[in-house]
């Protein structure tokens, strides 16, 4: 959220392994999502929870 701290969509600072999800909606849009936040309406979990890196890999390989 600042130039020095990671935000909700950023990979966590060293040492932590926060969990992330990949969400998808009915239009086929994908979204990275932090595990600790409720999944918004109209979106469903398509992958995860897993590490930030792994979720990014899934999202990039489309």
């Amino acid at each position: 959220m600042t130039a020095t701290e990671p935000g909700p969509f950023d990979p966590p600072a060293d040492g932590r392994d926060d969990a992330f999800l990949v969400l998808v909606n009915s239009a086929g849009d994908h979204s990275l999502w932090p595990d600790w936040r409720a999944v918004p309406q109209g979106w469903r979990r398509s992958f995860g929870p897993d590490t930030h890196g792994e979720c990014l890999r899934r999202l990039s390989a489309r």
Partner: protein, 1309 residues
């Protein structure tokens, strides 16, 4: 202190008092008071309500005895040469006043008295540090007020005093003797403190705190800023209902903690969310007393310790409370080390920089005091100074639940703000008390339901049904409705709607033939012109999306974008505009294309275009080094254009100025808005958007009513252009950067009848998503405003929960204007365009990375960035991209970049490198690769990057670039002096010398405009920005503006007076291969004020006179010019490159005529036979020659437009060359090369001074010794560690001047 000494009693007769130093805790208070002696902030006070009968006399007696027992109260504190001292007074008169206030509003009157007393500053050198007052407010209700200066007493001390007073009173009331005294002595307090400070424990505590806070974050500030210590504080009192208090206690037990721990955790969570940080430092006031003895001494011992906590949305309340428990345990172990000492150790004193955020003061002291059975209830009136915010929490166990006081510094927390923080905190406690402690903290929101409804719903009521149109349709409808109206004006020509539509239609057909259709991309690369407008319209009409490619971009970047975007075809004006990319190019200047166009039908082409299809793709800077294409649909941009028309109502008589480069999304509304509303689009000349005077002229000439400015350009425009010429303006739009209030005020003064609108939006959201109409009388930051149609704005905290108004969070955008995403970057798209938790099902939102907050009026204020994206003069750039480009250069080990604002209002992009690369060369290399706005004004080479204690790059410690010239001589002559002073004034740099180049001193194109207009104003000299490029030093400009003959045009005559004045024999310097002698300007200035230097330039640069047929002929012409300046010898000649060969020839001709040649100096020039057999790569071609004249090697420039672009980006003087001159150079260079090969040298009688560019080069056969056959004298060779083109650059010119100086017999400087 010996035991005997501490037990010394004093007798009232002698009045000899015990004098003691202050403890460290007391010293802290003493210094705080000394900073503002008139401040009452250090008074603490309490009021006890005694409900029942009380004997005032007995009460007074009890107080007297307690006062006698509590030595800490009976002191005078005086300053001495050795520092402050406290003098223990043997006896004091009890400062107790008794008031019978029974009657009307008794308590009110008592409170007023207490308030007044509390507001009275105490001078501890003269008065007692405490006051008592007893108020009888009813027959059986008494208020006991005590006010004690914090220097002598802390909160725990109060409880000791109150309990003892009650005990003594109760005993006296029974007629019994009170229990024996137990209070420790003041001297003991002092001794313990001294013992601690010299103990090992002290050293260990110091080390602990230094380590714990070495890499501390900034102190969290709920108000967003610091303020000076205030003399008062604001207080809001609230009670947490007993039921919730109970639940909190139960919860605490479940978590194996105490309820204070839970409260601290809650405050940490609240603070983290409101400040947007996860690393939070709270202040924990602790007793500071270790050991039972310490617990018996009333006095000032308390300390505030930093409690550092990590609060992440993924944590749970349980884990946070555990952190608090362990954290407090750790803090307690080291609680004797003073807060002031910690701050000093960390270097925070003196600047008043804070260490901690809000203080959480939980006071579990059991105040059960009874006065002969009558209960007394205590109420705190003040706990001491409040720097920022202190949350005091009391559990008085009186059935009312916890009492919570929010004390705030009034400078930071007006009443409403304090109340809001308190009510939110209480709501949070309620939520925490009732929820599962294992759920993630991210589930909690800090905003109240009303606040949430306001920011999510009320502020975002922007839904609007719109017809489903695209960029093409509305224009075509308009063209049908008003075919004869003027659509476009460029210079003197105008196009009607019908004509424009027809031209666009023809091109659209051609594009469709090449594969343009909905979903396809067409690249468009044209300078600003009618053709550009036609092309963009044509692409839209074909159904495809346009990809504007700025013609000024470096070829490398263009090639990257073409490769990445893979358009089906491209539209340009001429060959060479775009690099080869394997796809068809339609060249509008090509006659063949024009023929094809003529054959196309002029009617609207059919296309299966829907609003969902992409309308345009614009590239923006990428943080990892690769720019990315943003894809915006027709629906998104159509929403934006319809909203714009509804809000600002263009009429058919409006004229909109097209001035913004097509690669910047603002241009999209310039192109497409007027043309769908029947207004006229006025196309400004290319490049004029940088020149305020030209802009004003264009506005005046075409009666422009509507235009856009990036705020920093608006500032320059208002300062430099004649606003009175702009009376036709009706409205001005600003976007791209924060609009400073001063600029809005200046605008209102200069153009009072014109509306000023502030808009905001990233490329990822169809140009702009918010709007604000500036109101001239308003103050404070200019808001970015409210959302446009069908758009929602969310300001979210780190848990993606809505921030209440006034609280800063990250701005997220949702709605119809969101881009589809990034072209070919699904991963990046999915991380920036994420799920929207607040919109309709399946909605997305875009994370802007901008910090913002809602105002209570429903507008958003912009507050900065969360990352390393910056805006420089409205252009977005990722520092990461600049860094990646630097890091990719040879010799660069590490790189970083920063936008610095060392002088307010002047932003500079600065790059930093480690490694062996030379900074100036790095900068030049970047000028080749990056667009102009991304090239740093300076690159600074460092041995190593500064690091923070945890080894991260410390950006704050990067040094400011030092802009300074080389040898700094004093300016001579009134003109040079005036110009040097002007440079210094405009650049705000000290120590400017007359030979310092404008752009090397941090000059930007904005400052260039300013300088030019000042020169015009102050010196009456006509100067254009172009001429500043040609002569960027005060000396150079002095020459140009002084000599009538040195106006821009005549800088290209055969004879160029580089320095026309001086008493010594002139030096004649002959041009290199390009025919221009400007390169000798630096040499001329280094040779000093008394040495005239004349350049000789190739004939025909200005006109079309034929080139000489041989070097001999050319040299002969030069001799004539020479002699017109200096009729007779001795002559002094110098030449670089082919100029050297010519100089040698001139020398021989002069000798033929019997004249003396005193000096012949050649700069890396080699005789003809060294070239005859070789293809002379050194002299390549015109483009290389021009670049070399500027000191660059040619890499990827393909034509002279590229060359000019490179020169301009690097701020070179040669960027001002006209097309004609460049064309002549194109001819002159090969001409010289050929003539040189044909040349036969004659023999020169005399010495030769030679300078060799000794850096290794492919032409390794070149040697100064090749002159041997042609020189009948000594050949003195000087080697310089550089390449041929670098010889006359700043770094080497000094060495050359030094050598020449000896031969010219000028004094050394």
């Amino acid at each position: 202190m010996t035991a005997a000494a501490t037990r010394r009693r004093t007798s009232p007769d002698t009045g000899q008092a015990l004098r003691l130093p202050l403890t460290a805790a007391q010293s802290g208070m003493w210094y705080a008071q000394a900073l503002d002696p008139a401040s009452p902030a250090l008074n603490t006070a309490e009021c006890l309500r005694i409900d029942g009968p009380l004997d005032a006399g007995l009460f007074a007696e009890a107080l007297r005895r307690v006062t006698e027992e509590a030595e800490a109260l009976r002191v005078r504190v005086e300053d001495t040469p050795q520092g402050p001292r406290q003098r223990l007074l043997p006896a004091v008169e009890l400062p107790l006043s008794v008031h019978d206030l029974r009657g009307d509003k008794a308590e009110r009157r008592a409170e007023a008295w207490m308030r007044d007393d509390l507001a009275r500053a105490r001078d501890l050198s003269r008065e007692l540090p405490f006051t008592h007052a007893l108020f009888r407010v009813a027959d059986e209700r008494w208020l006991w007020y005590q006010c004690i200066h914090h220097l002598v007493m802390d909160g725990y001390g109060y409880s000791l005093l109150v309990r003892r007073t009650a005990e003594v009173y109760s005993a006296l009331a029974e007629g019994a003797d009170p229990a024996p005294r137990t209070f420790g002595r003041l001297a003991e307090l002092v001794a313990r403190d001294a013992a601690y400070r010299s103990s090992e424990e002290f050293a260990a505590d110091r080390a602990h705190w230094k380590a714990a806070l070495a890499d501390r974050p900034e102190a969290p500030r709920l108000a967003g800023r610091d303020a000076l210590a205030s003399r008062t504080f604001g207080r809001r009192t609230a009670y947490l209902p007993p039921a919730i208090t109970e639940r909190l206690r139960t919860l605490a037990e479940e978590l194996r903690a105490t309820w204070p721990d839970v409260l601290v955790a809650a405050q940490a969570l609240y603070t983290a969310r409101v400040t947007g940080r996860s690393d939070v430092v709270l202040g924990l006031p602790l007793m500071g007393r270790m050991g039972s003895a310490a617990l018996r001494i009333p006095g000032m011992v308390m300390n505030v310790l930093p409690l550092r906590l990590a609060v992440r949305p993924s944590d749970t309340l349980a884990s946070l409370v555990r952190q608090v428990v362990l954290g407090i345990r750790d803090v307690r172990r080291h609680q004797r080390y003073r807060y002031e000492d910690i701050r000093r150790d960390l270097g925070l004193l003196g600047e008043g920089r804070a260490l901690v955020g809000p203080l959480v003061n939980v006071m579990p002291f059991d105040y059960g005091a009874a006065f002969a059975g009558v209960p007394a209830r205590a109420m705190n009136l003040s706990t001491g100074p409040v720097d920022d915010l202190t949350v005091n929490i009391y559990d008085r166990a009186d059935g009312r639940g916890l009492r919570i006081d929010h004390d705030g510094n009034p400078a930071l927390y007006p009443h409403e703000a304090l109340a809001a923080h308190q009510s939110r905190f209480l709501r949070l406690l309620e939520q925490l008390a009732g929820a599962d402690p294992q759920q993630p903290l991210g589930a909690y929101a800090v905003a109240s339901p009303a606040e949430r409804e306001f920011v999510l719903d009320e502020c975002n009521r922007t839904a609007r049904e719109l017809p489903h149109t695209t960029l093409a349709g509305p224009f075509e409808s308009r063209a049908r409705e008003t075919p004869g109206a003027t659509a476009l004006r460029e210079g003197g020509t105008a196009l009607s709607y019908e004509e424009l539509n027809a031209r666009a239609n023809r091109l659209a057909r051609l594009l469709q033939d090449e594969g343009a259709k909905p979903g396809a991309l067409v690249a468009v690369s044209l300078p600003r012109s009618t053709d550009l407008v036609v092309s963009l319209l044509a692409v839209a009409k074909s159904g495809a999306a346009f990809l504007p490619l700025d013609p000024e971009y470096p070829p490398e970047r263009l090639a990257y974008m073409l490769d990445d975007a893979a358009p089906v075809c491209a539209v340009a004006d001429r060959t060479g505009r775009l690099p080869e990319h394997g796809r068809p190019q339609l060249l509008l200047d090509d006659p063949g294309t024009r023929e094809r166009l003529d054959a196309c039908p002029a009617v609207n082409p059919p296309r299966a275009l829907t609003p969902a299809h992409p309308a345009y793709v614009l590239y923006t800077s990428g943080s990892t080094g690769r720019p990315k294409g943003v894809v915006v649909s027709h629906g998104a941009i159509d929403n934006r254009l319809r909203w714009m028309q509804d809000t600002y109502r263009l009429r058919s008589d409006d004229r909109v100025l097209q001035k913004t480069p097509s690669s910047f999304d603002v241009s999209v509304w310039e192109f497409f808005w007027p043309l769908r509303e029947g207004a006229t689009l006025v196309v400004a000349e290319p490049g004029s958007h940088r020149d305020p005077a030209r802009l004003a002229a264009t506005v005046a000439e075409h009666a422009v009513t509507t235009c856009h400015f990036v705020p920093s350009m608006l500032q320059v425009f208002l300062a430099e252009a004649d606003a009175s010429r702009c009376a036709s303006l009706r409205r001005v739009f600003c976007s791209g950067e924060a609009l400073p209030r001063e600029t809005a005020h200046t605008f209102a003064r200069a153009l009072p009848e014109v509306e000023l609108h502030n808009l905001y939006g990233p490329t990822e959201a169809a140009v702009d998503v918010t709007h604000h109409a500036c109101v001239p009388e308003e103050t404070g930051p200019v808001p970015i405003g409210a959302p446009v149609w069908n758009t929602r704005l969310y300001v979210l905290d780190p848990a993606l929960q809505p921030c209440p108004p006034g609280v800063t969070g990250e701005l997220h955008l949702a709605g119809a204007q969101l881009a589809d995403g990034y072209l070919h970057r699904p991963g990046l798209t999915a991380t920036r365009f994420v799920a929207d938790p607040f919109g309709p099902p399946g909605a997305r939102m875009y994370r802007t990375g901008d910090l913002a907050r809602w105002t209570v009026r429903g507008e958003v204020e912009y507050l900065g960035r969360t990352d390393h994206q910056v805006k420089l003069r409205g252009q977005r750039l990722e520092l990461g991209e600049v860094e990646a480009a630097l890091a990719a250069l040879d010799g660069v080990d590490g790189a970083c970049a920063l936008v610095r604002e060392d002088r307010p209002g002047e932003q500079l992009l600065v790059g930093y490198t480690t490694g062996t690369a030379e900074p100036a060369a790095s900068r030049a290399a970047l000028a080749r690769r990056l667009p102009e706005h991304m090239v740093p004004s300076a690159v600074v080479a460092l041995d190593a990057f500064p690091l923070t204690p945890n080894g991260k790059l410390d950006r704050g410690a990067l040094p400011a670039p030092v802009f300074s010239g080389g040898t700094r001589r004093a300016p001579e002559g009134p003109r040079e002096e005036a110009l040097t002073a002007l440079f210094a004034e405009v650049l705000e740099v000290e120590g400017v010398g007359p030979d310092d180049a404008f752009f090397d001193l941090g000059g930007t194109s904005l400052l260039a405009a300013r300088l030019v207009s000042r020169v015009r104003e102050r010196l009456g000299a006509e100067l254009t920005i172009g001429s500043l490029f040609e002569a960027p030093t005060p000396a150079g400009l002095a020459v140009r503006t002084a000599d009538a003959s040195a106006a821009s045009g005549d800088a290209l005559g055969v004879l160029l007076p580089l320095r026309g004045s001086g008493s010594r024999t002139p030096l004649f310097a002959i041009h290199p291969a390009g025919g221009i002698s400007w390169c000798y300007a630096g040499l001329a200035s280094r040779l000093g004020p008394d040495q005239p230097v004349h350049g000789l330039q190739a004939p025909g640069l200005l006109d079309s006179s034929p080139l000489p047929s041989s070097l001999d002929e050319q040299a002969a012409a030069y001799v004539e010019h020479l002699r017109s300046v200096q009729p007779h010898g001795p002559y002094r000649l110098l030449g670089w490159s082919v100029g050297g060969v010519l100089a040698h020839t001139v020398a021989t001709l002069l000798q033929d005529e019997g004249e003396e040649v005193g000096l012949l100096a050649l700069l890396d020039a080699f005789p003809a036979e060294q070239w005859r057999e070789h293809p002379a790569p050194e002299e390549g071609d015109a483009l290389t020659a021009v670049l070399r004249m500027a000191g660059f090697e040619r890499t990827s420039e393909r034509d002279h437009a590229d060359v000019l672009a490179t020169l301009r980006r690097a701020g070179s003087p040669l960027a001002g060359l006209s097309d004609h001159t460049l064309a002549r150079i194109v001819d002159i260079v090969p001409h010289h090369a050929e003539r040189m090969r044909e040349h036969r040298h004659r023999r020169y009688t005399g010495d030769l001074v030679f300078f060799t560019a000794a850096a290794p080069r492919p032409e390794d056969w070149l040697t100064h010794l090749a002159w041997r056959p042609h020189v009948d004298g000594a050949i003195e060779n000087h080697e310089l560690p550089c390449t041929h083109p670098q010889l006359l650059r700043d770094e080497h010119v000094g060495a050359i001047a030094d050598v020449l100086a000896e031969h010219l017999e000028v004094p050394q400087r």
